[in-house]
Amino acid sequence: MAERIRFEEVWKAYPRWAARTLRETIDRRVPGLLGGGEQRWVLRDVSFSVSRGEFTGVIGLNGAGKSTLLRLAAGLSSPSRGRVLLPEETAAILNLGDLFDLALTGRENALTTALAAGVLARRARALMPEIIAFAELEGFEDAPLRTYSDGMRLRLAFGVLAQLAPDALLLDEVMAVGDVRFREKCLDYVRQRCADGAGVLFASHSLDEVARECSRVVWLEAGAVRAIGEAEAVVAEYRDAMHSETRARTPAPNGPSGEFELRRNRFGSQEATIEHVELRDGLGRPVSEMTSGGPLEVSFVVRTAPDRPVVAPIVGLTISRALDGIGCYDTNTVNDGLAVQQIAGERRFTLRFERLDLIPGEYFIDVGAYEREWRYAYDYHWHVHPLRVVGSSSDGGVFRPPHCWEVGEPAASSTARS
C-alpha cells in the first residue's frame, strides 16, 4: 500500500550540553571533545510507516520521544541517523505557542503560514475568507494575536491547514485546547483527509481519544517503539502496563494497619500517602451518610517526607457503587485544570460538591494521588471510605437530577376521534 510517512531506522541524539558562548565551549566542549562528548539519545532505531488513509496515534509518557518524532517528521530537526520521508505537501501543527507572531493580527499570521507553505500571494489572499470562516474567527481576524485565547490560536492554525489539502498531517497534542465542538470539527476534517488518502500522525495523552479515533497506534517508550499495531489493542496493552506499574511499586504489606492493608485496599509506591480522609456535610461536620441531593465535602491530606517532595502530582477521586462496582463519577485535578506544583510535607485537598444527586444506596469514595504522567499511583485507597446515601426515592439508575413533571391538558375529544 502507498506510504505517506516513513521512518527508517531513525536515531536522534541531542548533545547534553549545548555550547553557546566561548566560555561554555571552553568549559564543556573541550573536555567533551577529549572524552568523546556526551549525547542523550531521544529516539532509538525507530522504524514504521503510515500508509494512505491511516490515522496513526503516537502514545507514550512525556519524554518518550513523541514530540521529537513529530519534529523530525516536520523537518524542524534532522535525525542523527536514518531517514524520515514525507510527501511534499505536508502540514503540521506542533506547538501553538511557537507558531505565531503575537504582535500581528490573525489575518497576517494566517497569511504568513499560507505563504510559507508555498501558496502564492494572490491565492493566499483569496483563501483568507475561507480560512477565517473555518476558524470561526469572524470579527477577530484583525485583532492582534496576543488577544487570542489558546482555543482561537488552534482554530486559526487549523483554518490555514484545512485549505492546504496536505498529503501528510502531523498533529502534536494541540487539539486539547479547543472546545469540544471545534475539536469535533477538526477531527471531522482529519478523518476526511484520511478518507481522501492522506496519512496522519497524531501524538496525544488522551488514551480514550486515541483508541476511538486512530486506526493504528505507535507506542514509544524511552525513545524506542515498544508496540505498534491496531489502536485499541495497543492502548489496552499500554493501560495494562500502567496498572501493573502501580502494583509492582506497591511495597509488601507488613500486616494490616487499621482499616488499610497494602496490596488489598491500598496501592501505590507510598512516596506520597493519603491520610485523614474525611467526608463532611454542608456545615463541615464529619459524616458517613448524606441525603440524596445534599452537599458533600471530601477532605484529605497528601503527605510526603519533607525532604522527598513529589513534583506535579495528580490527585483524583472516584465514586463507585458498592452493589455492582459501577463507576458513578470520576474527577481529578488535571481534568479540572488545577496544577499542583509539588508537595513537600503536607497538603490538604478538599473537594466540595454543592449537591450530590446520587440515588440512595451504598457507595465508596476512592481517592488517589498519582505520578504526573499517570505512570503509577503514589497512593490509592480502594473501597475504604464508604458513603451511604439516603432518601425517599426508589428511582433507578445512579443519579437523580432535580426534576419535575409537567403533564399537558387532555386533548379535545373531537380531535381524538378523528
Binding site: T21, G75, L94
Partner: protein
C-alpha cells in the same frame, strides 16, 4: 475493456526527506515581500511619526555629522552635506542589514518553528527592511542633489550598485545569522565590528585623505569601494575604477554563495538550538 479506457490510478505523492523543501522562486519572493512588509508595519504602525521615523533618524545623524565635520573639524569637502548623505545611506543599509541579520534567526523563533518556512528567507528579510527604510529618505537625497550638484544621469545606474550591495549584504547576512545560533557571542562581536567599520569606511571623510600606507586597510572593505562608486555616479567625484569594482563584485558573489551554503548546512539544526 480496452486499456485506454482504464481509469488511471490517482497520482501518488513522492516521498522525500523531511525538511528539504525549497520554495519555488516566485513563492520565495512572495514570502520575502510579505515578511518585509509585516516587519516594517509592526515596527512603524504604533508610532506617532510612523514611516517618518527612518527619515528622521537619518536626517538627525546627518545633521550631527555635518555640524562636526563641516564646521568643528572642517574636512573641507565640496558639497559636504550631500557627499556625507550618500555615504551615510549606503552605510546605514549595510550596517542595519548585517546587525538585523545576526539576530534574525535567534529572535524569530515563531518563524523558524513554522514547519514549512525556509529559514533562509529571514536574513534576506533582515536586509530588505533597512533598505526600505533608507529608500524612504531618497526624496530628500534627490532634493539635496538637485540643489547642490544638480542631478546626474548616473542616478539611473544606481540600481546596479544596489544589487551588488544586496548580494554582499545577503551573503554576509546568511553567514552571521547561521553562525549566531550556535555561537551566541557573534551578535556582540558583529556589533563591535560594525562600530569600528563605521570609522574605517569613508562615510564622513574621503578615501583620498587617508595616508597612502593605511589605505589598504580601507580597501579591504568592500563598502569603501561601493560608497566611492555611489558618489561617483551621483556627485561626479572620481570613481573606484572598474578593477576595484570587479573585485567587489567577485567578493560579493562569493559571500552570497558561501553564506548560502553555510546557512543551508546549519539550518536543519536551528530548531534544536532555539
Amino acid at each position: 475493456m480496452p486499456a485506454e479506457f482504464a481509469v488511471a490510478p490517482p497520482l501518488e505523492p513522492a516521498l522525500r526527506p523531511a525538511g528539504a523543501r525549497p520554495l519555488r522562486p516566485r513563492a520565495f519572493t512572495a514570502l520575502v515581500l510579505h515578511l518585509t512588509a509585516r516587519q516594517l508595519k509592526s515596527s512603524h504602525h504604533l508610532t506617532l511619526l510612523g514611516w517618518g521615523w527612518p527619515v528622521a533618524r537619518q536626517l538627525a545623524q546627518l545633521a550631527v555629522l555635518v555640524f562636526i565635520f563641516g564646521n568643528v573639524f572642517d574636512l573641507d569637502i565640496e558639497n559636504y552635506p550631500v557627499f556625507l548623505f550618500v555615504g551615510l545611506m549606503a552605510w546605514t543599509w549595510f550596517s542595519g542589514a548585517v546587525s538585523a541579520a545576526t539576530s534574525s534567526v535567534l529572535t524569530q523563533r515563531h518563524l523558524v518553528m513554522q514547519p514549512r518556512l525556509p529559514s533562509s528567507v529571514l536574513p534576506i528579510v533582515a536586509a530588505m527592511v533597512p533598505l526600505v527604510d533608507v529608500l524612504f529618505a531618497l526624496p530628500v537625497l534627490v532634493l539635496m542633489l538637485a540643489l547642490s550638484t544638480g542631478l546626474e544621469w548616473g542616478l539611473l545606474a544606481c540600481p546596479a550598485l544596489l544589487v551588488l550591495q544586496l548580494a554582499l549584504v545577503a551573503g554576509l547576512g546568511w553567514l552571521v545569522a547561521g553562525v549566531s545560533v550556535f555561537l551566541r557571542d557573534v551578535p556582540n562581536l558583529i556589533g563591535v565590528a560594525l562600530m569600528i567599520l563605521f570609522y574605517l569606511t569613508p562615510v564622513f571623510y574621503d578615501r583620498s585623505r587617508v595616508p597612502e600606507r593605511f589605505r589598504w586597510i580601507l580597501d579591504l572593505n568592500p563598502m569603501t569601494t561601493l560608497i566611492e562608486a555611489y558618489r561617483s555616479l551621483l556627485l561626479g567625484t572620481p570613481g573606484p575604477g572598474i578593477v576595484r569594482l570587479a573585485v567587489v563584485a567577485a567578493v560579493s558573489v562569493s559571500f552570497l554563495v558561501l553564506g548560502h551554503r553555510a546557512f543551508t548546512r546549519l539550518a536543519p539544526r536551528f530548531a534544536d538550538r532555539l
